[in-house]
Structures are given as structure tokens and as C-alpha cells.
Subunit: 222 residues, 2 copies
Amino acid sequence: MPPRVKKPPATAPARGDARAALLTAAHALVRRQGWTATSVDQLCREAGVTKGAFFHHFASKEALGVAAARHWDAVTAPLFAGAPYHRHEDPLDRVFGYLDFRAAIAQGAPEDFTCFVGTTVQETFASSDPIRAACDDTIRAHAAHLERDLGAAIERHPPRLEVTAAGLALYTQTVIQGGFVLSKAQGSNAPLLDALSHLKRYLSFLFQVPHDKETTHGERPR
Amino acid sequence: MPPRVKKPPATAPARGDARAALLTAAHALVRRQGWTATSVDQLCREAGVTKGAFFHHFASKEALGVAAARHWDAVTAPLFAGAPYHRHEDPLDRVFGYLDFRAAIAQGAPEDFTCFVGTTVQETFASSDPIRAACDDTIRAHAAHLERDLGAAIERHPPRLEVTAAGLALYTQTVIQGGFVLSKAQGSNAPLLDALSHLKRYLSFLFQVPHDKETTHGERPR
DNA sequence: ACCCATACCGACCGACCGGTATGGAGTGCG
DNA sequence: CGCACTCCATACCGGTCGGTCGGTATGGGT
């Protein structure tokens, strides 16, 4: 066989993938054990990459943190954008669909369904402003998607109390992040699912959803 | 002056205070920078104690974490038990009073009003089950206080939907913990205050509070 | 006066931390 | 072919990590 080494042996990770592999490894490891507990060496091992590659692509561990926070948005945004709930014509149905989708993907161990940026920002908000800001951006960007549907829902179904789409969108993220914390503490997705259920009742009240319609939105069976 | 050394020179920390000083230091440092980022040496420095004292009182850093989680309950429970909202005769008023009290103490930087156990459990839920369990206990113990008032409120003011006192109490903690996360990300107490406001509206709806009475419970002014 | 448990001290340990220095393999381009 | 440049590999650095250990100080009991 002639020595055609156009590409590495195909089993080895392709050249140029180190950066992406490190970001993916960061998401996995930090979700399980936190930001500080995740070392550069460990990240390299998980990504199948050497330390030289790490510091070639990132000036510091902090720089990786910023990039990983932005990458979290890049990987989750398509997940939600491609979810089936967007086909609902009524924006309020899309909002409920989002919450049901959130419940549907809350499967497995907490480290598999909780949020990278929520975990990271709790450890870094006082020690690294670049990471904090990147996490804040990612949370806001995610909330902004929901905010559009909420704004349209407010338009179409005038709410019982004065609320803003931005405020409701952030409240939704607050409930979800809190659900992550309690779920980690209990080692179960139950607190998150319960919280989503309560949140749906709140929105049903706000938007005056008739009871028969409300239950079709996937009230969690016991 | 005769050498009466009944107690150390009064400027030095009294003998026997090392343990308490370490627990207090743990609360302060971990709230600011997280569990893993807080080293044993740093704890000793903050507490004005040597490493020998640390490992005399705690078998390991993990053991300190468990003790600090339990101590968090011991220090916060009296704070809430002594709060003025308990004097309300109507249990529902006490529930709203609790939430208003929560808002009132959300002052200063996030590290000054956020939760030690919420921060700690996020980092340790997968790596230390003793710490995770201790944090879970502390959260549940705090929720249990609220659960009693919520149970009485359900009794007195039959809710519009079927809810349980335990579920509502945990949902309250979920919202608060989520408010902490968003507040850290934004560097402001605003997300927490907004979340508490939304939660109060949900409860007002559930318990069918008349609108005029609801607003007297301290709706946050803009 | 003596004993002993408790409280505390601080030097020290091997492992590991984030980060650096240097060198070399692959690649596009003239 | 040669050269510059990107992408990585490896050895190594000073510092810090959680934890250990031999020792001292103190105070109460007898």
C-alpha cells in the first residue's frame, strides 16, 4: 500500500478539531463537577488533546470559559430552534410547547440536563468578569427567543396583570435555573418538572387559558 | 499586674473558637468564589486559624463542607424565625411576609445575599454525596418551615387548583435559588426581586387574594 | 503535683495546578 | 523546492493543593 498520508489514520482525531473537542469536553466536565474542579489537564485528556493544543487555541483557562459559554449558546440554540413546538400557530402554544420541551429533555442524571452557563457563572461571577458577562449574554440570548413568542402572546391574549415579555422570559429562566439547583440537590429531575408545572399554571392564569385547553398542553401525569 | 492568664490576652481569638470561625469563613468565602476555589489554607487565613486547627476539628475538607451546610441551617433558621412576619394571624399573610422578607434581605452584592448550600451543591452533587445530602437536608429543612404556613393557608383559603403545601414550598425555594443564579449573572438583585414578585402573583392567583389586599403585601414599586 | 484529654501549631509531603518554552510535522504559496 | 505559518507535542516551571505528623500549650480532675 502506497504511503498516502493525505489525512491522519482516520482513527486519530482530525487535525483542527482540537478547539471544538475542548469546548465539548468543557461542557461535559463542568456540568458534572463545576468550573474550578475541572482542570486544564483533565480537559485535555477528555478531549484527547495535549496541553500544547489547549494553549495554542486559548490564551488561558479563563479564555476557554468565555468561549465555552458562547459555544453553549451555539449548541443549544439549534436544539431549541429545531424543536417541534415552533409549528404552533398561536404564540402562546409555542410558549407552552417550549416548557413541555424543557420537561421532555430533562432526562437522565442532573449533569446530563443541567446548564453549563448556570453552573459556571455561580463560581465565577465575582472572580472573572469576562466569564460572568459571557454567561449572562448566553442566558439573555436564550431568553430573547422566548421573549418574542411571549410578546406575541401578550398581544394576542391580553394578560390579566400587567407583565412584560422580557420580564416573563427572564422569570422562566429563573424557574428553570432554580429547578436545576434543586434537582442537583435531590439527584432527580422531579424538582425541575414540578417547577415547570407550576410555571405553566402561572402562565395559564395570566393568559386566561380555559381549563380544558390548558390540560392539553401536557400537564404532567402522576 | 499579676499574671492572671485565666483567658488569653483578649485580643487573640479565644481558645475553642476555631471551629466556629472556620464555619463562618467557609460561608463567606464559598459564597463569593465557590466551593472548589476555596482552599483549606484560605479558610484558615480568613478564620485566623492554623492548618493544624483545621484538621483537628475536621477530618477533611469534605467534612467541613458537611458541617458548614448544617451550620448554614443553624444560622439562617433563627434569622427567619425572628423575622416580624410571623406575627400575622393569617397563615397566608405569613407566606407573603416571608417572600417580602426575602426581598428585603436581598441587599448588597450577590455574595452577600445568596445561598451557601445552593452554591455548594451545584459543585459537589456528583463528587461528594455527603455534602450533597447535607445541602439537600438544609434546603428541605428551610422549606419545611414555609410548608407549615402554606398548609394552614391551603386549609383556610382553599386554592383554585390542586396543590400541596410541600410542592409549593419547594417551588418557592426553586424560584429563590434561580433568582440567585440570575442575580449572580447580572450582578444585581433585580432578577431575584422580579422573581419574587412573579411568585407572589402566582400565589395571589392560587389563593384568590382580592386585588386590593394583594397590593398591600408590598408589591415592588418601580 | 501529676496526668491526660483536648486544642492547637507549623513544617513538611507528593500530587497537581495553570502556564511556558521549544521543537517539529503538516500545508498553502510563490 | 523553499519558506512561512498554523497546529500541535512534550518537557518543564514555580506555586498551591489537600492532607500528615511530631510536637506544644492549656485546663480540669484527682
